[in-house]
Symmetry: C2
Subunit: 241 residues, 2 copies
Amino acid sequence: MSDTRYICPHSSRPTWRRDRRKNDALADLFSRRPLHYRAREHLFLEGDSCEGVFLILSGTVIVYTMTLNGQRQIQNFAGAGELLALNFSGNHTTSAQALTDVTVGILPRLAFNQALQTSDRFRPTIFERIDEMLDAARRQAMLLGCKGALEKTATFLLDLENGGEGSQGQFIPIPMSRCDIADFLGLTLETVSRMLGRLKRQDIIDLPRADCFRIKDPKRLAQIAGLETDFGHMCGNPDRF
Amino acid sequence: MSDTRYICPHSSRPTWRRDRRKNDALADLFSRRPLHYRAREHLFLEGDSCEGVFLILSGTVIVYTMTLNGQRQIQNFAGAGELLALNFSGNHTTSAQALTDVTVGILPRLAFNQALQTSDRFRPTIFERIDEMLDAARRQAMLLGCKGALEKTATFLLDLENGGEGSQGQFIPIPMSRCDIADFLGLTLETVSRMLGRLKRQDIIDLPRADCFRIKDPKRLAQIAGLETDFGHMCGNPDRF
DNA sequence: CGGTCACTTGACGTGACTCAAGAGTAGTGG
DNA sequence: CCACTACTCTTGAGTCACGTCAAGTGACCG
């Protein structure tokens, strides 16, 4: 698709998620009454009335929606420092499920709106987050609409690495199942497994166990993910090796 | 993907775009200095510095991003009453191109921020729009990640119909090319054409010319789009007829 | 009337899904 | 410590939906 008359982006614009550990003006407001959820518990369901805005203090939350025929699209794996249910209408438009054990702070809708109105420190922070969410949604659309299975998987691994500390060459945990990854990337769990296997066999990643990995060749991984121009012409090549 | 332990949505939640013709508190603020663009002109490019927020007064704008290997993902076809460049950081994260001739109002960043701060009528309107944009992005992710080609095409037609007036059974123009539709749905233009042909042959839509259509069987179209539970079990059936 | 352009249609190839079997890994109980 | 179970993950073989390539059709325009 697309033809030559469309104009290319000025930069590759990696737009990684901001550092989630600096919780800025938020933590103090939200930490009034922290709540705990066990892994697999639901924080809320699509359609539920929305009591307030959530700030994740620890753990990871799966934000997803379901189709009528029972397919799940994971919108986001939200980690510490991220906001949930930042909608201003009455009801939740997604479901949220704890992937790991999770702690959240809740800011009731009224207090949230009030803070938006009064606090000149709070408002820009919220808008910054909204920006990030919109941008993340756009990148997700690009991923789902434009990329192939290997590209998607590579992108996912790079995002995972970037979500963790700046741990160069260290092992990074994969907290979610293959099924979760598949529902996030719009693939099947078998395909995800195959693509991981391919990256492993090509010596681009280390995958000693199913639930953690290490990037051995960041450059090639980025190329495969479509984040750098590809000089080696080895992007979509088959497995044979 | 997905298995039985995930919980289904409470409602089908069609969440159609709001009526764009009621421009609420926005029109007066934005209409100070209206600008005109010819079809195919660019309003701005990804990476450009962002002078202000755009309100579309008339026409349709293609909001898109490009991958490094030259693929285009159309994020949105934005019509009259919709906001563009509602980002709070310095640079545009998408490109915007006029599909038809377009008139827009621009509100400079400073004035926008000020209005947000001071006007209690303006702020909720903006948040409402942000909600809509986030929700649209989520639905787009579902479309791209979960749906097949026929499902996507049907969904697109229903969205188009809903974007126009509440014209029951009337012909609806298709202002964009097959290529645009394809880049929006994550398909090829050939596949889009084939799916439209299939819907036409099955007597679900009328397609007398390439650039307008009419829905003949809304119920079946909605079923195919995955918006209603399917009793006929004819959703994914092949073309043969 | 001939040229250009977008759309349509067909034949073919292939990437990802489906179905099904096997391999780890963790947890439980004797 | 070693079965035995119950997972999830991996791997393979076959199928199908969608993409690719290419030819054909129709509308618009000079």
